[in-house]
């Protein structure tokens, strides 16, 4: 059971909460205790837009345990409008149609589950951003 772990990570996974450094404005996702840019230790909690552009991607054919039923599936690094880069799966599209630079947006999705009777874990995945 990793209940406390999932509870602890809920702000990032469910709400895309990040920490904006009160001194230099650098945004950390996930938040940290020390800003890697300026060393300051005070942050304002903000919510990321989830909107950004695809920097690079891959299509996973040999999946890690727990993801085999999804394969082949796309995973990419997306630079959000706020300048933060995050890694997530890309879904609701044909991976063959993806191109570097594509506009994408996060959606709340099921990620994985801990065995047959364990917790179901949710988080963010990217989908094509059609401006809707």
């Amino acid at each position: 059971m990793k209940v406390a772990k999932h509870w602890r990570e809920t702000p990032e996974r469910y709400r895309l909460e990040a920490g904006k450094c009160k001194k230099c404005g650098h945004i950390n996702f996930p938040n940290r205790l020390i800003c890697p840019e300026c060393g300051a230790r005070e942050f304002e909690t903000i919510r990321l837009s989830g909107k950004g552009k695809l920097e690079t991607y891959t299509v996973i054919h040999t999946a890690p345990d727990g993801f085999a039923d999804l394969a082949p599936y796309a995973v990419g690094i997306v630079e959000l409008q706020e300048g933060v880069k995050i890694l997530a799966q890309i879904t609701d599209c044909n991976p063959a149609d993806l191109k570097i630079g594509d506009p994408l947006v996060t959606k709340f999705r099921r990620i994985n589950e801990e065995g047959k009777t364990g917790m179901i874990m949710y988080g963010y995945k990217f989908v094509p951003d059609n401006g809707l």
Binding site: E12, Y57, A63, L87
Partner: protein, 386 residues
Amino acid sequence: MREVAIIGIGMMKWGELWEKSLRDLAVEAALNCMADAGTDRIDSISIGCMSGGLFNGQEHLASMIPDYLGLKNTPAMRVESACASGGLAVRTAYMEIASGMADYALAIGVEKMTDVSGGEATYGLATAADQDYEAFNGINFPGLYALMAKAHMHRYGTTREQLADVAVKNHRNGNLNPNAQFPALMTREQVMSSVMVADPLRLMDCSPITDGAAALLLTTVEEAKRIGKHPLVVISGIGLATDTIALCQRKDILKCPAIEIAAQRAFKMAGKTIRDINFAEVHDCFTISEIMIMEALGIVEPGQGGPATSAGHTALDGKFPINTSGGLKSKGHPVGATGVAQIYEVVTQLRGTAGKRQLANAKVGLTQNMGGSGGSCVIHILEVKS
């Protein structure tokens, strides 16, 4: 600090070594090393092992290995930095000698990976990535390096053929190495038609799962000269550097600051530049890795790693031979052992005992060993002194 020499090297043929345990591998490499050195004096032992816990359910190697080496009561420690654990063990042994804490320090790298299933081994390896923000989302190491490969192809026009040529070259070298796990020759077509793992990387772009160990015996240059059994090989530079654990948090995922900074530190310590280096063993965990490492070390300009490989510049008879041992790709990648075995190969070349793969001009060699997707990197520069 005292100057440090390598007076003994040991390993064995790597592979799926069903009959050998974690402790057997470490002890066999150490015994081969002591036999090569012609001494069994050991004041200190450092052990590089990524994950005895996940691969074997066995931690506390700092007790087990000296015990089974017949050296109980000897000071020992296990060091870990994922796939860079081996290089870190050598650096630790170096510090023991340089500082005067020990006069004879044994560095062992070991990993026993086939006692768990392929899925469990892949999970163990994936713990070198950010568990909560990378692995959680369904990515593994082939996937992370595929992200770099795709970006490299997009920015620089690196081709699928150029990636394949890294594997072809390393198998050609490994074919001449009796210790290599997969010495078979490989064609470009075979690499490019192997099963897809993480687009654009295929199975033959990936280093294998391997059981193996390697060991080095370090002492002072003075002691090495006194013993005088082998040509004198010294460690003239070491650089260690770290970076973000998550690939996506790098400002530019095609730059590897840990490699660049570790290299700068090693070059500064040795008083050398990349132009003084004759050959290198680098961490080709995937074909794209070797290309990016060549660029980060300054062997070629950014974007030129692929073309230089296909032009043969990194082959045994090229301008700058890379991975004369066969690299991780052909020799195998028992993760904690790799950084030690890279130095084993460089010492072999510097001594002039590399047999059919011996380089004509091997005076100064470099090893580059890294953890994860570039979150840590350790570089050694070694020289043979006449």
